[in-house]
């Protein structure tokens, strides 16, 4: 069951699909383009078009649809909260009134749009992390940001930090779980009392967790050094990033689809 819990964090799911095989740089840039595209449109039918595109990409990636849908779960509270605020506080034609609560037609439209927009954003980003291994993702970012190295931007260090951070998420979740259980076994009451008391009761969890994280970091540094890690200079890659014809076609498709949906949204031809 632990395995499933981790998966909802949007972690890489290996598979052999066209989406998996595309160069991470192309995928990262495409996601940025698509996210701008989602921000640029403002009609419900445009959002539905984006949902159709999402569906096609999911099918191509051979991932179960439910897994992609689940990747939006962490933001569901945020979506509900923003939608509700828009539902009740948008001025316009009143369609329902009860006491001080008024719902307007514009409010309903706004709530639906905001909800769709947020969910779509998260799911497109989710497809990126589900189909790209952390190392590929880091390599891609390093390569995209490497022109900035000239100005002293630590592109390689940033990428390596990201890889290690992602690699240690499951390890530290397990560790936290173990500490929580150990503290409960010693009589800690973590879910009792008011909010202040609850926050205070997390100190005995955070302190050992920090100590362990530093110990692990220390050991990892020694292990990396003994495996000859000396920074980005002179490193090679098992799978070097290759930008081929496929990536160019993929980028072209992304840009054309985005432009098309934006043009349809703005009703340019009218």
């Amino acid at each position: 069951m632990k395995f499933l819990n981790h998966l909802t964090l949007g972690q890489y799911v290996p598979a052999s699909s066209i989406v998996h095989s595309i160069d991470p740089r192309a995928k990262i840039i495409s996601v940025v383009v698509v996210l701008s595209g989602i921000f640029a449109v403002n009609r419900i039918d445009s959002f539905l078009l984006w949902a159709v595109v999402l569906f096609v990409v999911v099918k191509l990636s051979k991932l179960p649809l439910s897994m992609v849908l689940r990747s939006a779960r962490p933001v569901i509270i945020l979506v509900l909260f923003t939608s509700l605020i828009h539902l009740f506080f948008t001025k316009g034609e009143i369609i329902f009134q009860y006491g001080f609560l008024t719902i307007t037609l514009e409010g309903v439209m706004m709530a639906v749009k905001i909800g769709l927009r947020l969910v779509l954003l998260v799911m497109y980003a989710g497809i990126l992390t589900l189909t790209t291994s952390p190392t590929e993702l880091a390599d891609g970012l390093e390569s995209i940001f490497s022109p900035l190295k000239r100005f002293g931007f630590p592109a390689h260090e940033m990428a390596m930090m990201m890889t290690i951070a992602i690699r240690f998420i499951p390890t530290l979740l397990d560790e936290t779980d173990r500490i929580v259980k150990a503290q409960i076994a010693r009589g800690a009451e973590l879910d009792q009392g008011g909010i202040i008391k609850r926050i205070r009761s997390f100190i005995p969890i955070l302190v050992p967790l920090f100590v362990i994280v530093f110990q692990r970091a220390d050991e990892l540094a020694v292990a990396m050094e003994s495996r000859n890690y000396k920074g980005g200079e002179g490193r090679t890659r098992m799978y070097p990033l290759v930008w081929s014809f496929k990536e160019s076609i993929f980028m072209l498709f992304t840009i054309l689809t985005t432009l098309l949906i934006i043009l349809l949204d703005k009703r340019i031809w009218l």
Partner: protein
Amino acid sequence: MNFQKELIIELKNLSFFYPGTKRPVLRDLDFKLRSGEWIAVLGANGSGKSTLAKHFNALLVPTQGACFVYGHDTKTNEGQFLARKNVTLVFQNPDNQIVAAIVEEDVAFGPENLGIPSVEIEERVKKALKVTGLYDVRKRPTYTLSGGQKQRLAVAGAIAMEPACMVLDEATSMLDPKGRKEINDVLCKLHKGGMTLISITHRLEEIVYCDRCVVLSRGAKVWEGTPRDLLIMGDGLLEWGLRVPPLVEVWGRLRDAGLLSDEVLPKIDEMVDALCL
């Protein structure tokens, strides 16, 4: 001892103090390792064996005396380079030495650092994964592996660097019996293939496959010889803080009773064969 074989590591009067301390962690060690050997370094907790392990690939350098790898002092840049390239370390906790989130990417980490061409890295990774029996899980996220698999991954990462010698620092101590057996099987296979190994351990069960044992006590070498000669000492080992495992004790009693000949080692298969055939 075979003197034709190439000398890989040589310690000369090595002593080590952690900065700011007066008591040496390692005292006046002399020691030679030739290619193809499998050596066990034994000692109780605090005997300095992990500190010694870090000298073999220049993570630490001696305070007095010297450590040579292929004839080069590890204090020099040349020596450090040779040591890092030719001697790889596998540590106790597999979780703290896995760098990448995917199995094959982690194996590739070492060779990538060495700046080896991509095609060759792929070959090395494939070979290392096959030797350690991880080829079928090469695309899996590393956190889904069992303890034994994780430690085999650490071994795979070390052998993908194609070192002359691999040092295992208590590499089996955090594993369950199944994981320990998996690692020992891999080590036997590598040793047969000609790899030079140093096992650092406090478990006497694990030394029966080695060619030579070195016992450390409070940072000094107190004994050196074959596993058989060491195990015969029985309770004498307690003095160095080493515990005699049940299997070795049974072996000792059987020998005392005259049921086992001198050649038989405390390996289950050999003992069964000697007693039943």
